[in-house]
């Protein structure tokens, strides 16, 4: 296969995943959330149980006027949604779907790349929060910055633990060395990574920066039309990314009870959707945290647990 063809197929595959997975997760969020609240959720768009609701939403968003507030910093304001979306797209590039190089772009330090690029997302929040010229947006932006800076630390520490256990930073390499008993060994890191990941994508119960009921969606307050649609899209891609990273790092990626070689991609997808379901489930079940509770959870619970996990990992690694 010539290089350019392979490259096109790989990038095309990632783009397809980028366009479908978030929509599936978004639709699942609509329906799961509705049923958990004793409702039906969307029922009309697309005739069968409202399967086309998000597409209909998209069509609606396209028709809306694109408003930029007069006092806003125009270029920054208009660029921010793009900056919010691109990092997650880049992360999808390095997440392995199955064995034998079934990945957008295999990177030797894929884990590091993923964490670094996810961290760039906070710049977008600050950009949109500040450039909107709105005090609620600014509050949201500042809250987001404080939250993301804090939760980056346990996220990286938990990921470091599993990288230490596997002895590699390559995501495929981590899945290859993964063994079922790691579920027990790395359980604290799994918890820390998952919670910090949910906080990193600002999902409820960690959605203080958005806080629809108090800040009117924080940094997104002033956005309309297509630009406004990009933020929820980025949020859904964020769910997919965090679920996929959790799957690959802690749940064994493509390893399953049977048929790893030809069904690996299916195992990965099943696990990604299961973790996404848990993220949605958390949103329905728990109320939003307060700012002090948020910081307390990060610095007094997650960081110490992650550090303890690092020590444990090192101890087991040396003992073996």
């Amino acid at each position: 296969m010539p290089l350019w063809l392979e490259l096109t197929i790989r990038v095309g595959g990632v783009v397809v995943a980028f366009l479908t997975l978030p929509l599936i997760v978004g639709q699942a969020e609509h329906k799961v959330m509705a049923h958990m609240q004793g409702r039906l959720g969307p029922m009309y768009a697309g005739a069968f149980h409202g399967w086309a609701q998000l597409i209909a939403d998209g069509v609606k968003f396209v028709q809306k006027e694109d408003v930029t507030p007069r006092a806003a910093d125009r270029p920054v304001f208009q660029l921010a949604p793009l900056v919010a979306l691109v990092p997650y797209l880049l992360v999808l590039l390095v997440i392995p779907l199955g064995p034998d190089d079934l990945v957008g772009q295999a990177l030797d330090i894929g884990l590091f790349f993923a964490l670094a690029v996810v961290g760039v997302g906070v710049v977008a929040v600050l950009m949109s929060g500040w450039a909107s010229a709105n005090k609620y947006s600014l509050l949201g932006g500042l809250r987001a910055a404080a939250q993301l800076l804090g939760y980056e630390l346990p996220l990286v520490l938990a990921a470091a633990s599993v990288a230490m256990a596997a002895g590699t930073l390559s995501l495929s390499g981590i899945v290859e060395t993964w063994e079922p008993w790691w579920l027990l060994w790395q359980a604290p890191a799994l918890g820390v990574f998952f919670i910090a990941g949910v906080a990193e994508i600002r999902r409820p119960p960690f959605d203080l920066p958005l806080a629809r009921s108090e800040l009117g969606f924080g940094d997104r307050t002033q956005y309309t039309g297509l630009r406004d649609a990009v933020f929820p899209l980025a949020a859904y891609v964020g769910i997919v990314v965090i679920a996929a990273l959790t799957t690959v790092l802690f749940l064994g990626g493509w390893q399953g009870p049977f048929g790893d070689d030809y069904l690996g991609w299916l195992w990965t997808l099943v696990k990604v959707f299961a973790v996404s379901f848990v993220i949605i489930w958390l949103r329905v079940s728990y109320p939003r945290l307060r700012e002090d509770q948020l910081q307390r959870l990060c610095w007094l619970v997650l960081v110490p647990v992650a550090l303890a996990q690092l020590v444990l990992t090192a101890a087991v690694k040396i003992a073996m």
């Binding site: 030797d108 330090i109 961290g119 760039v120 906070v122 710049v123 932006g141 910055a145």
Partner: protein, 172 residues
């Protein structure tokens, strides 16, 4: 000119251009955003120069944390939207020293290296760098960790005035 040269030139131009905007723009927050572009371009330069790990550390630490802190500080100190005219001191001494330093160094380096060609070495992966750090540079590494800890404690104490006064209050 090879492909690497073209990439280096392009990324270098982006880095210098956005760097220029960082020190000349009248918009406080935009200076921080241009800094993101500049640091990103420098990370790209690292990638071309086969320093993979350093490039992503640059993105993780600089773009993900340092610039965010800077932007955070800019916003906490009430940066206005739009241009502010009281950002600069009179320019010519700075221009003299800065231009002198930059152009002088550039001249020195051009004179030293001319148009020589160097083959790109193998990539600086995490494994090789780790080996190197823990074989040759363990002591600086440990010293750095102490420095980081000291900076952390210092930053907390400086930014929390209530820590110092709590003890005094107890004495009284």
């Amino acid at each position: 000119m090879t492909a690497a040269d073209v990439l280096l030139l392009g990324l270098g131009a982006v880095a210098v251009g956005s760097g220029l905007l960082v020190v000349t723009t009248k918009h406080l927050v935009r200076a921080g955003l241009y800094l993101v572009v500049c640091l990103g371009a420098v990370a790209g330069l690292y990638l071309v120069l086969t320093a993979e790990l350093v490039a992503w550390v640059q993105v993780l630490i600089y773009v993900g944390a340092v610039v965010v802190l800077l932007l955070f500080a800019v916003m906490l100190t009430r940066a206005p939207i739009g241009a502010s005219d009281d950002l600069d001191r009179p320019g010519w001494p700075a221009l003299l020293v800065g231009g002198g330093a930059g152009l002088g160094l550039a001249a020195l380096l051009i004179d030293a290296f001319r148009w020589t060609k160097v083959d790109l070495p193998e990539a600086g992966t995490a494994e090789r760098l780790g080996t190197e750090i823990f074989r040759s540079w363990v002591l600086p590494f440990e010293v750095l960790s102490v420095l980081l800890l000291a900076a952390l404690v210092g930053a907390i104490i400086v930014s929390r005035p209530d820590i110092g006064t709590a003890g005094k209050g107890a004495d009284r």
